[in-house]
Amino acid sequence: MKKIALSALVIVVFIAYIIHEHGDTDEVHVVAPSSQQISPTEVISQNTTATPPAASSSAPPSPAAVSGKYKDGQYTSEVGDAFYGPLQFRLTVSGGRITDVTFLQTPNDRGTSIEINSQATPILKQETIAAQSATVDVVSGATQTSEAFQQLLKSTLNEAKT
């Protein structure tokens, strides 16, 4: 649940960020259904100046504006466990708007392969297997007895042709 909540938070923060970067309003309109989960005090550590959202004195009161309005400052998140590694970011709020999101720590999005590599040798590589069209002289594989019979039949029939 912690991971899901954290992921949701990151998404919502991004949405908020984008809205603020591109929006034409001063108000913070975080109106996603899950927006009630992201009041700053809930997710942003108190070692900064984070405070509960305060209603703007100048803006016309509206529920969205009230719930989404942030106090200016920089807010550093706690270090979250994002499944493949730590996640930590810093928000900059100015003029009541989130103006910047800086990721201080991010999990590698290819965590699985990194983990495989770090176990022993960092030089192993990976690929998804795909059928090859090239003709081959012989095939290496684990054998099955029933299959052995089929192969033998095939090669015997080929031999019979020539």
């Binding site: 090239a134 012989v138 684990a142 099955q144 052995a148 031999e159």
Partner: protein, 243 residues
């Protein structure tokens, strides 16, 4: 010229370039039948069956049997104990006999002056010389689709072997964990000869997903491991075999 025979419950195929000699084919096939007669745990009258019944003392083992026991012992040491011919009190050296037999058969062919050939016994292959002045093209079978090849290597004077559970039920196992290997569909190993490739493929397969790391650490060996998600992990030096 190419010929196949069903020996040890698997097809043994020999292809020789510029040679058309039934005598030579038969010599090689006879050798495999002889090995099967000695080491097959499915044959009541085989030497290994007699050993497992306790009817044969160590000093009365044949020269070949002593050799195989010695090789199995050193392989166990070379592979951190992951290769073991003893299972549930029964000695089954088939995991080492196959590669050893193919390698010996290839030496018999070379003794006959034949240099351009491959010998394939159940998907483990010794490759010698060239085919029409090019490296032999050896495919890796898709463990999920037996008629499909998912990788092609160009080989000369090398051995290649694949171990996987899609072969015969559960015959490779992890002697440390005492259960079968779940995540890995197959591991293919290329080495200086099929004996090395086969024994290390068997051991690496028993190691599960860390088997490929083990192969990476071996000099002269390269590996191509396919997991059950269809993702291949391969060693750093495999590029020299790509065609």
């Amino acid at each position: 010229m190419k010929k196949s025979q069903l020996i040890m419950g698997m097809p043994v195929t020999i292809e020789m370039m510029d040679v058309d000699s039934n005598r030579i084919f038969n010599k090689i096939f006879d050798y495999f039948f002889e090995v099967d007669g000695k080491f097959s745990t499915y044959k009541f009258e085989s030497e290994i069956s007699a050993i497992n019944r306790g009817e044969l003392k160590k000093e009365n083992f044949s020269r070949e049997m002593k050799e195989i026991f010695g090789l199995a012992n050193s392989t166990k040491n070379d592979t951190l104990g992951f290769f073991d011919i003893k299972r549930d009190g029964v000695i089954d050296p088939s995991g080492i006999v196959k590669g050893w037999a193919i390698y010996n058969a290839s030496k018999l062919l070379k003794d006959e002056g034949i240099l351009n050939f491959y010998i394939d016994a159940g998907g483990d292959i010794e490759v010698s010389g060239l085919k029409n002045r090019k490296k032999w093209k050896v495919g890796v079978r898709n463990p999920f689709k037996k008629d499909e090849v998912v990788k092609v290597f160009g080989l000369t004077n090398a051995g290649i072997a694949t171990s996987g559970n899609y072969e015969r039920g559960d015959h490779v196992y992890n002697p440390h964990a005492k259960h079968s290997i779940a995540d890995i569909a197959s591991i293919t190993v290329i080495g200086p000869n099929v004996y090395e490739a086969d024994r290390f493929a068997t051991a690496a397969y028993a190691m599960g997903s860390s088997g490929i790391d083990f192969i990476e650490k071996q000099r002269n060996l390269e590996g191509y491991m396919i997991d059950n998600a269809g993702i291949a992990t391969y060693t750093s030096g495999i590029g020299k075999y790509l065609v």
